[in-house]
Structure formats: C-alpha cells, structure tokens
C-alpha cells in the first residue's frame, strides 16, 4: 500500500494545480468490503470534485484524503507502468491512474476491485494467484529483441534494458470468463509469458514450457473471448499469444517435448507495427 498523500496534489499531469480543484462533480459508486471485519460488501457513493485531466485514481485518493481514510486503494507509479492500480471501472478492467473521469460520461461511475482474485479489502486484491501462474511458466522479465538501434540510454547506462511488456496488473485474469469458473486455468498472463519463452527462448527450456501449455488447463481451456487482449493496458495480446501457442503445439506434435530449444520462431523487430503500438523503447 502506498500513497498516503496528506493533501498533496496527486497527479503530475496538471502541474502546480490540484486536478481535483473544483470545476465539476463526478459521482463514484465504490465497492467497499473488509473481509473478516465487515459483515457484507456494500457500495458507497461519493461526490468528487473533478476537473479536466482528473483520473479515477485522483478521485479515489481524494475520497481517501477528504471523506474516508479507510478506503483501501493500491497504486504506485501513476503512469501505467507498475500495474498496481488495476480495478473494474464502469464494468471494464482498467488502470485507474490512466482512466480519465472525462472519458466515463456524466453518469454514476461504478468502481470495483478486480474480479477472480482474492479480495484483501475494498479495491485491493491479492495478486499471488496471478504471480503463481507467471512463476509456473518461468516468465521472462528482460527481452533481447526490440531494442531499437537509435535508442539513447540514460547517462551512466552502457546499454538500454528492454523489459517484457507485461506489467503483471492482473486485468486479463479479471476480464477472462474462463478464469471466472476455473481456478486451475493457467490463464492469459501466464500463457502470454509462456509464448514469449517460445518466441524468444533466451536459453529457457521451450519443450517444458510447451508441455505446460499443452494441457487441459493450458491453451486448450481458452474459449477465445479475447477479453484479455482488450483489457491489457500494455499491448501484450494474451489471446493472440495463446492462439500462437496452440499453433506451435499442434505443429510440434510428435517431436520431443521435454528438451530445451534454442531457436524460436523469431522475435519481433523494433520497428514492427506491434512494437510501435507498445509505446516502449
């Protein structure tokens, strides 16, 4: 938990002005529940002053400062990199730090915690089931492809490090209708990480990863709703990754599946269309 702001401005997008200084009012209907403390979940409605540029996270932090210090909200970076402020906003999974009140219309905005994950309290969920899935496939963190030759590393850094796109926010797990009913499903984030290990092995045991994915609770459990890809704030395209994994598994049937493979189907290049849409170097 972070960000006990003590009344300080909470957004860096509107310099020197608190973005919640009065100009309009947004009505937020916020899910409240403290498991083990309060009897039943409930929704509380708050009227929040909201000016142009204010985000849902700005509004929630205003509620915590001005109305209810007990509201549990998790955040860190405020610019869609840390993945900690994922929640369901107006029925859709989103990062609260980059979801603008202006984009949500004039009506009441329902804010709920991510679905399909254990609730810690209010808008905070336990991410461990998501991390467990990523650990299971030995998800890579640093990618070797897509470092543009023209990228200029910061002073004192010899060469840039390109991290994988997934920010481990869990939006895909919340959006997936299959995770909703099958707790053993490896899930979109885990399978997308598995595909990255196949696409760009970096010395990992691709055969082992494919064997994990080739399972009733792996790629074959997906029912192609594509909601994970739609929800992903980082253009990871989990559904597309699952489909590519299926193809790799089907084409690889009959081949040894437990040995390491050193060659993948080839990484994306830094000037690919897919790379440009990630907005990352």
């Amino acid at each position: 938990m972070s960000g006990l702001d003590g009344g300080a401005p909470v957004s860096s997008r509107v310099p020197s002005v608190d973005p919640l200084e009065r100009s309009a009012v947004a009505r937020l209907r916020v899910y409240r529940s403290k498991p083990g403390v309060e009897a039943a979940p409930r929704f509380e409605t708050y009227e929040v002053p909201a000016s142009a540029g204010a985000t849902v996270l700005d509004a929630l932090l205003w509620i915590r400062r001005q109305r209810d210090p007990g509201l549990m909200v998790r955040h860190s970076c405020l610019h869609a990199s840390c993945g900690t402020c994922g929640m369901r906003i107006a029925g859709r999974e989103a990062l609260a730090c980059v979801t603008f009140l202006d984009d949500l219309g004039a009506g009441e905005i329902t804010v709920e915690p991510l679905a399909n994950l254990p609730l810690v309290g209010d808008l905070v969920v336990d991410m461990e089931p998501s991390y467990a899935r990523l650990r299971a496939v030995g998800r890579p963190l640093v990618r070797e492809s897509e470092i543009c030759p023209e990228a200029q590393p910061a002073e004192g850094i010899a060469e840039p490090t390109r991290f994988e796109d997934c920010i481990e926010c869990g939006l895909c797990l919340s959006a997936c209708p299959i995770v909703a009913t099958d707790p053993r499903y490896l899930g979109p984030a885990g399978l997308a990480a598995a595909w990255r290990s196949v696409e760009e092995p970096r010395g990992s045991a691709v055969g082992r990863v494919l064997a994990l994915a080739d399972d009733e609770q792996g790629v074959w459990r997906c029912h192609t709703a594509w909601e994970c890809t739609e929800a992903c704030p980082s253009n990871v395209d989990p559904a597309g990754s699952i489909m590519r994994l299926r193809r790799a598994i089907v084409l690889g049937r009959g081949a040894p599946s437990d040995g390491p493979r050193t060659e993948g189907p080839g990484p994306k290049r830094c000037n690919d269309e897919r790379t440009r849409t990630t907005g990352q170097p």
Binding site: P35, R88, A90, G91, R92, E93, P113, L114, A115, N116, L117, P118, L119, V120, V125, D126, E128, P129, A132, R133, A136, P177, V179, A180, T181, P183, R184, L186, R208, L212, D215, Q217, H223, T224, A225, W226, E227, T229, E230, A239, G240, M243, R244, R246, R247, A248, V250
Partner: protein, 142 residues
C-alpha cells in the same frame, strides 16, 4: 511433486478465499463486453441451445416408433406459426454457432488473428442474410 502436480495444486489452498470469482455470471455478464466477449457469449448460449435441441429432436423422432398417427399429429403442430418461429430461432443458433466456429477454428490454429474481429462481423452478416432467406423459405413451405 512434479511440475504438473504443483500447477494442479497451485490454488488448492489459497491464502484467502476466492470470494471475487465471478462464476458462471462471468460467462454471460454483458457489462463491458467487447466484440470477442459477445462472440463468446453467443457461442455459449447457442451451443447450449443446440445441445438441448438435439435431445428434443431425438425425442420427436421417437414418435416414428408410435405409428403414422403420432407422427402426423406432430407435423400438424410443427406447421403452426409458433413452431415455425422456433424453427427460425434454431436456424439462427445453428448459423451463429457454425459460422463463428469457423472463426474459432481458424484463430485456434494461429490464423487470421489480426482480422478476427472483421471476420466475426463478416460471418455474422452472412448469418443474417442466410437467416433471412431461410426464414422466408420456411414461411413459404409452411
């Protein structure tokens, strides 16, 4: 414990109850669904409907074993406007499920991934056209 066993047990004893799992409501909750989500909902609903129809169909066919009178009585009911409406609903379900199945199969082989939305729209337009023609034919035959 093998890797597969660890995977199977990874949620067997969660540190907290999975009290926010959406359950079957997560299949059909229309809030916030995008095109692929609607395709998924349609496929589920039509799939369940077709399975139900299959058993009804077998039950109806069993009338043949009861002689011509039983069958003729059923045919008289089958030509009623209400029954014809259900025929059109059945045709719609078969078209949606079957044509979307082509899309699901293609994407399942890693094909047309970037065009899966356009493919769904095109197939549903085709379904609507065939449904219209089929509905007119059904009424004409009746």
């Amino acid at each position: 414990m093998s890797e597969r066993e660890r995977l199977a047990n990874r949620d067997a004893a969660p540190s907290r109850p999975l009290d926010r799992r959406r359950g079957v409501a997560g299949w059909v909750d229309p809030r916030g669904r995008r095109l692929g989500g609607w395709a998924f909902i349609l496929n589920r609903v039509t799939g369940i409907g077709i399975v139900v129809y299959l058993y009804l169909h077998l039950a109806v066919l069993s009338l043949l074993a009861r002689g011509p009178e039983a069958w003729d009585a059923f045919i008289a009911v089958a030509l009623s406007p209400l029954f014809l409406f259900f025929d059109v609903v059945l045709l719609a379900g078969l078209l949606i499920h079957g044509l979307n199945g082509i899309r699901v199969t293609l994407t399942g082989f890693g094909l047309v991934l970037d065009a899966q939305k356009a493919l769904f729209v095109a197939l549903m337009v085709l379904a609507a056209i065939v449904l219209l023609v089929g509905a007119i034919r059904l009424v004409e035959v009746a």
